[in-house]
C-alpha cells in the first residue's frame, strides 16, 4: 500500500438493513496532510461514510485502508490509534464528568500510566485553550468549548487523521469561528495532520485542499475546489450552493472580467478589482 496515502477507499458499498443502499461503490483516496471537505445534501450518506472510514461500522463490501492498514477486525485497535472523529452534538460525545476527565477518557482506554496521563491532559487542555476549565462540568460549558475538549481528547491520543462530522453545525457563530480557528492552528502546527471535514459551509470547503461531493451515496465530484465548484448548476440541482466569492467570480466572468483561480477570499477579490 502507498505509504503516502492516509486513507484509501475502494469500491465501498454499505446497505442499511440488508437492501437499502446508502453508499454505492465509493472510491477515493486521501494523502497525508490533505484537508478534504466532504459535502452533500442531508441524507447523501456523508455521516455513514465517515463512520465507515473510522471503522465504527462494517461495510457491506469494498475495502478501506487507513495508513496502509486494512479495515478489518484484527486491525480494529490499530486503526483506533490512527484515526479519530469529532461528532456534531457536543453533549453526546462528552463522556467524562469534567473537562479533564473527558480528555483522560481516551488515554484511560489505552491503559496509559497515570502520571503520563496527567501530563498529557494538562498539555492538550492548554493546546485547545481550556486549561482554566479543567474541573468544569459539561453543562457549565458552551458548545464551542465542549467541541474544543473533544478535539483535545483526539489530539492527546496523537492521532494524525481526524474526521470532523459537521463538528460546527450545532454551534453559534462564535463557536464556529472558535473551532475553525483551532483547526487552522492544528493544521499549521502539524503538517502531517490529515483532515476530512464533513460540512455544509461552502466557504470552508472553498478553502480546503480538495472537495468531494456526495450525492445519494455516490461520489459525483472529486477535485480541487475550483474544479468542483465550476459547475454551479450541477451543484444547485443536487441541493448545494456555491461559495460567495466563487459566485461573484462566475458572474464577473460572464460579463467578461476574468479573476485568477487562486483568489479565494473577499479581501483578495476586492484588492484585485480595485487595482
Amino acid at each position: 500500500m502507498d505509504s503516502l496515502k492516509a486513507i484509501e477507499v475502494k469500491n465501498l458499498c454499505f446497505n442499511y438493513e440488508k437492501d437499502v443502499p446508502i453508499i454505492k461503490n465509493v472510491s477515493f483516496s486521501v494523502n497525508k496532510g490533505e484537508y478534504v471537505s466532504l459535502i452533500g445534501h442531508n441524507g447523501s450518506g456523508k455521516s455513514t461514510l465517515a463512520k465507515l472510514i473510522a471503522y465504527l461500522d462494517e461495510a457491506t463490501s469494498g475495502e478501506i485502508y487507513i495508513d496502509g492498514l486494512k479495515a478489518e477486525d484484527k486491525n480494529a485497535s490499530a486503526i483506533r490509534e490512527r484515526i479519530g472523529i469529532v461528532f456534531q452534538n457536543p453533549d453526546n460525545q462528552f463522556i467524562g464528568s469534567t473537562v479533564e476527565d473527558d480528555i483522560a477518557f481516551g488515554l484511560e482506554n489505552r491503559n496509559i500510566e497515570r502520571s503520563q496521563m496527567v501530563k498529557l491532559v494538562k498539555e492538550y487542555a492548554s493546546e485547545v485553550g481550556m486549561e482554566d476549565y479543567m474541573n468544569k462540568e459539561p453543562q457549565e460549558l458552551s458548545g464551542g468549548q465542549k467541541q474544543r475538549v473533544a478535539i483535545a481528547g483526539i489530539l492527546s491520543l496523537g492521532l494524525n487523521i481526524v474526521i470532523l462530522d459537521e463538528a460546527t453545525s450545532m454551534l453559534d457563530p462564535e463557536g464556529v469561528e472558535d473551532i475553525n480557528n483551532l483547526i487552522m492552528d492544528m493544521k499549521a502546527e502539524n503538517h502531517d495532520l490529515t483532515i476530512i471535514s464533513i460540512t455544509h459551509d461552502m466557504e470552508e470547503a472553498y478553502l480546503s485542499d480538495r472537495v468531494i461531493v456526495l450525492n445519494k451515496g455516490e461520489i459525483v465530484e472529486d477535485g480541487t475546489p475550483t474544479d468542483v465548484f465550476a459547475d454551479e448548476k450541477k451543484l444547485h440541482d443536487i441541493g448545494l450552493g456555491i461559495p460567495f466569492v466563487l459566485n461573484v467570480k462566475n458572474k464577473l466572468n460572464e460579463k467578461g472580467i476574468k479573476v485568477p483561480d487562486d483568489i479565494k477570499t473577499i479581501k483578495g477579490l476586492s484588492e484585485f478589482l480595485c487595482k
Binding site: L56, R80, I95, S97, E100, N109, P138
Partner: protein, 311 residues
C-alpha cells in the same frame, strides 16, 4: 445546575469531614447506622415460671441511643451540617410519624399483655399502653439519626466521589466475574447526564406549554396525558443520546472488559487513618455493649444508675 447539587445540599467548607476519603465516609456512615439499630438491653418478658420479669428497656435504649446520637451529632457539627436543611429534609416524615404513632398506640396488642405498661384502661376491655408510644419514639429517633448521618455524607461529598467510593467497594466482586468497572462507568455516565437531561426536560416542557399543555392544573387523567407529552420525547432523545454516546466511546477505543488505567484516584491520608481508628473504637464499644447486654441479659441503666425496672 451542577451535578454537585444532585442531593441539593453540598457545602463547600473545608472541615476534616469534607477532606476525608469518600470510602471512609461511606464506611463510617454504614457502621454508625448499624449502631443505631443494635439492641442494648432486654425488654420485659415472662419467665418459665410465668412471672413477669420487668426491666427498664425503654429508658435503657434511649440512654444508649442517646450516646450514639451524641457521636452522630458531633460528627454533624464537625461537618457543619446546616440545622435548617436538616429539619427541612425531615419534612415529609412528620405526617408519616403521626400516622404511625396513632397506629402503634391505638391498635390493640396481642399476646400476653402483662409485659406491657398500661397507659390508660378505658374499662371496656380496651387498653392502651405506653409501649406503643415509646416504640414509636425509638423508631423516630433512629430515623432522625439516619437522616443526619446521610446528610453528613451528602453535604460533604460530591456525588462523583461517592461513585468512586462505591466502585472501590465493589472491586472484590471482580473475583466472581462481576463487571464492577462497567457498573461504575454506567453510574458516572448517568451522573454526568443528569443535568443535561434535566435541561432538555425543561425545554420540552416549555415547548409543550406553548402548545397549550398545562402541567400544573387538572385532574389525574389530564395530568397523565400532560406527562406523556414530556416523557415520550425525553425517552426518544435519551435513546438517541445513548446511541451517539456509545459510538463516541467506541471511537475513542473504549472496551468495557479490557484493562483500563484510572485518571482519578482516591488517596487515603494519615488523618483518614486516625478517623478510621477512632471509628473502629467507637463501633467496637457499641457492639460490646450490645453483645454483653444480650448475653448477660442486663440493662445498663440499672447497673450504672441503679434505676430499677419495676414499675
Amino acid at each position: 445546575m451542577n451535578s454537585n447539587n444532585l442531593f441539593g445540599n453540598l457545602t463547600h467548607y473545608n472541615t476534616f469531614v469534607h477532606r476525608m476519603d469518600a470510602r471512609l465516609k461511606l464506611f463510617i456512615m454504614i457502621v454508625l447506622m448499624v449502631a443505631c439499630f443494635l439492641p442494648y438491653g432486654i425488654s420485659n418478658y415472662i419467665d418459665n415460671s410465668g412471672n413477669v420479669i420487668s426491666s427498664s428497656y425503654y429508658s435503657n435504649q434511649f440512654m444508649v441511643l442517646g450516646l450514639v446520637a451524641v457521636v452522630i451529632l458531633t460528627l454533624m457539627a464537625f461537618a457543619k451540617v446546616n440545622i435548617l436543611s436538616f429539619i427541612k429534609s425531615m419534612g415529609a416524615m412528620w405526617f408519616m410519624m403521626i400516622f404511625l404513632l396513632v397506629i402503634m398506640v391505638f391498635i390493640p396488642k396481642t399476646g400476653d399483655t402483662r409485659i406491657y405498661y398500661v397507659m390508660h384502661d378505658f374499662g371496656n376491655g380496651y387498653v392502651i399502653f405506653w409501649d406503643g408510644l415509646l416504640q414509636c419514639a425509638q423508631i423516630f429517633l433512629r430515623l432522625i439519626l439516619m437522616i443526619g448521618l446521610t446528610m453528613v455524607l451528602t453535604t460533604t461529598t460530591p456525588p462523583m466521589q461517592i461513585t468512586y467510593a462505591f466502585e472501590w467497594y465493589l472491586t472484590p466482586l471482580r473475583l466472581f466475574h462481576f463487571p464492577t468497572q462497567v457498573v461504575s462507568m454506567i453510574l458516572s455516565l448517568a451522573l454526568r447526564m443528569i443535568p443535561t437531561i434535566l435541561d432538555e426536560s425543561q425545554r420540552i416542557m416549555k415547548a409543550q406549554r406553548s402548545r397549550g399543555v398545562d402541567f400544573e392544573r387538572g385532574f389525574v387523567s389530564s395530568k397523565i396525558k400532560s406527562i406523556v407529552t414530556l416523557i415520550v420525547p425525553l425517552l426518544v432523545s435519551c435513546f438517541a443520546r445513548s446511541e451517539q454516546l456509545s459510538l463516541a466511546m467506541y471511537a475513542r477505543g473504549y472496551d468495557p472488559y479490557a484493562k483500563r488505567s484510572k485518571y482519578r484516584v482516591l488517596k487515603f491520608h494519615f488523618l483518614d487513618l486516625l478517623s478510621l481508628i477512632g471509628c473502629l473504637l467507637i463501633i467496637a464499644l457499641f457492639i460490646t455493649l450490645c453483645v454483653l447486654s444480650q448475653v448477660y441479659k442486663i440493662n445498663y441503666i440499672e447497673q450504672w444508675f441503679g434505676i430499677s425496672g419495676a414499675r
